[in-house]
């Protein structure tokens, strides 16, 4: 090579597909199908779909932690349920107008995520995960037992009309719009400079630190973002039913969220969506045929993890790659 010649600009490999661009076509297709099902489908479908969308958002928010930030939350239902209490208490105790209470929900979650997260990021790996569990147990106990404030097991209802008094299909559209916008916002986070930073810290905290990133700060930011969107999901859920109970921040919701992400597949942005859909289908079908349907879900989860560790999402991706015209 002639060293005196002006260096040719390095040729970038053809961008196989710009990973930072949202593929609007599938997004629009899914949105349209969901919208028409909500408007034209039977009530059973409308209710199921609304719930699926809410949990898809919850699981996607949780997945930001699991797949990207290198954290595990064993108590993420706290940020789901505390938003619902935020809505209820700001309306019933503080006398806020309904819309203000509803808007406050996710911010209450973000605040709790900031406080608890600040403790959790002091530790790493399993120790941090145990601390998320402890934070959630404490919160659950307080909500459950502080009867004067939360009315404990009886929960709070009547502060918002269920589904805002809208027709189920119309409330479904509201949920579609809010969860859709939220998931796109999370997509943007993951694919922004902040998202790259979160992924870097999640994959190798030592290397990220040697590049100048503080693990604690970056993980705390991810935790708060995840908590906020879990709170959006919790708010939608609580308005859907027009009530709130301690179970909204209980273990079952946390575990279901984790199962959804694992079913959908780690390291895949859409895991929460795939997982929530599949979980709901299994939930409905299995509960119909088997008394011990949760056992069956457990077995299916084991099978998925053993056969396709990257879950449904991973299977779909490798299938798409083999199809003619598939990228990669």
């Amino acid at each position: 090579m002639n060293r005196d010649a002006p260096a040719a600009p390095p040729v970038a490999p053809p961008a196989r597909d710009d990973p930072y661009r949202i593929r609007w076509l599938p997004v629009a297709a899914v949105g349209l199908v969901a919208a028409s099902a909500l408007l034209a489908g039977p009530p059973l479908i409308v209710f199921a779909l609304t719930e699926v969308m809410i949990f898809a958002l919850f699981a996607t928010a949780l997945n930001l932690l699991l797949s990207y930030s290198g954290m595990v939350s064993f108590g993420h239902a706290v940020y789901f349920g505390i938003a619902a209490y935020g809505v209820a208490l700001s309306i019933t105790r503080l006398g806020w107008p309904m819309w203000a209470g509803i808007l406050a929900g996710p911010f209450v979650s973000a605040f709790f995520a900031l406080v608890f997260g600040a403790f959790c990021v002091q530790l790493t790996a399993i120790y941090a995960a145990m601390l998320t569990l402890a934070c959630s147990e404490v919160t659950f106990a307080v909500v459950f037992q502080w009867f004067e404030l939360t009315r404990g097991e009886s929960g709070i209802s009547g502060h918002v009309p269920a589904m805002l008094g809208l027709a189920p299909g119309v409330y479904g559209l509201v949920v579609l719009a809010v969860t859709g916008a939220s998931i796109l916002a999370l997509w943007r986070v993951v694919h922004s400079p902040l998202g790259l930073t979160i992924r870097a810290v999640g994959q190798n905290a030592a290397r990220a630190a040697a590049l100048g990133h503080s693990r604690r700060t970056v993980q705390l930011i991810a935790f708060v973002i995840s908590g906020f969107f879990a709170g959006v999901a919790g708010t939608l859920f609580s308005v859907f039913h027009g009530n709130v109970f301690p179970d909204y921040l209980g273990t079952l919701i946390t575990v279901n969220g984790l199962v959804m992400v694992l079913l959908g597949g780690l390291y895949n942005f859409s895991a929460g969506i795939y997982g929530a859909v599949l979980f709901k289908i299994l939930d409905n079908l299995l509960a119909h045929y088997f008394q011990y349907w949760q056992l069956v879900i457990g077995l299916i989860l084991m099978a998925v993890i053993l056969v396709s560790p990257r879950g449904i999402g991973g299977a779909i991706q490798s299938l798409a790659r083999r199809l003619p015209g598939g990228h990669r």
Binding site: S192, A209, G212
Partner: protein, 252 residues
């Protein structure tokens, strides 16, 4: 002749680090000039890696000071040292293994650019040309779309070195940059390191077991033994030092 080095830029004074009853570093003094290439050698357990880990903030020293370019560095966490332009590569190459080579370098540029908390994907898109140019420079442009898990050990070492360079360090700490590599790969990597370091006027401190590499690269050599500085000098002085031959070269 090697280029003349400038004024002292790194001054380590009486640095000590103890693990339980084991004194890993005992009052280590070190003075390195601007633009110097300094090798640190010594038998296993001499404290070389501990010294590197203290210099890069992985470990907090029990006592002593580290002054680089007029700033006290001892006891600061690694991410703060990185922001003060201290770059570091690890003994076992440390990269983002589930990312592509391109994304790894992008992450390094993203970190170096400040504004890592930005939500604008466009910022990353705009880094493409610079990232590719850096990959070209370290000879990895053709592997840009490969996931790190799938490339060779040597390429990972190269990548890590390139990522550290992307932070425009003024002090570079390399812990066994050629460990585990074949002979040819090893010389190619050390030549790459030297070329980049000299071009950019970076001060380099490196730990190395391969004596050929050390004598080929270093302006100055520090020999450590039992947590102390045992001898210092130019390569020819170290080669002629009988005691060094006894404790280190002879015992190999």
């Amino acid at each position: 002749m090697r280029p003349a080095a400038g004024a002292p830029v790194l001054t380590v004074s009486a640095l000590s680090k103890r693990f339980g009853s084991f004194l890993a570093l005992e009052r280590v003094d070190l003075s390195v000039r601007q633009g110097e290439v300094r090798a640190i050698i010594g038998p296993n357990g001499a404290g070389k890696s501990t010294l590197m880990n203290v210099l890069s903030g992985q470990l907090v020293p029990d006592s002593g000071s580290i002054v680089f370019a007029g700033q006290r560095l001892e006891g600061r966490p690694p991410y703060q040292l990185a922001r003060r332009k201290v770059g570091r590569a690890f003994q076992i190459s440390s990269t983002f293994r589930r990312m592509t080579i391109y994304e790894n370098m992008l992450a390094a540029h993203n970190a170096a650019a400040g504004r890592w908390f930005s939500l604008h994907p466009g910022r990353l898109r705009n880094m493409r040309a610079a990232v590719m140019a850096d990959l070209e420079e370290i000879g990895l442009a053709h592997l840009a779309e490969q996931v790190v898990e799938d490339v060779s050990h040597g390429d990972r070492k190269r990548l890590e070195f390139g990522m550290v360079l992307a932070g425009r360090p003024r002090l570079l700490l390399l812990d066994e940059p050629t460990a585990g590599m074949g002979l040819q790969e090893r010389h190619a990597l050390i030549d790459l390191v030297l070329r980049q370091v000299r071009e950019r006027g970076v001060t380099l401190l490196f730990v190395e077991h391969d004596i050929d590499v050390v004598f080929r690269a270093a302006d100055y050599i520090t020999v450590m033994a039992l947590g102390k500085v045992f001898a210092e000098g130019r390569p020819e002085q170290i080669a002629a030092n009988v005691q060094v031959q006894e404790i280190y070269l002879g015992s190999r």
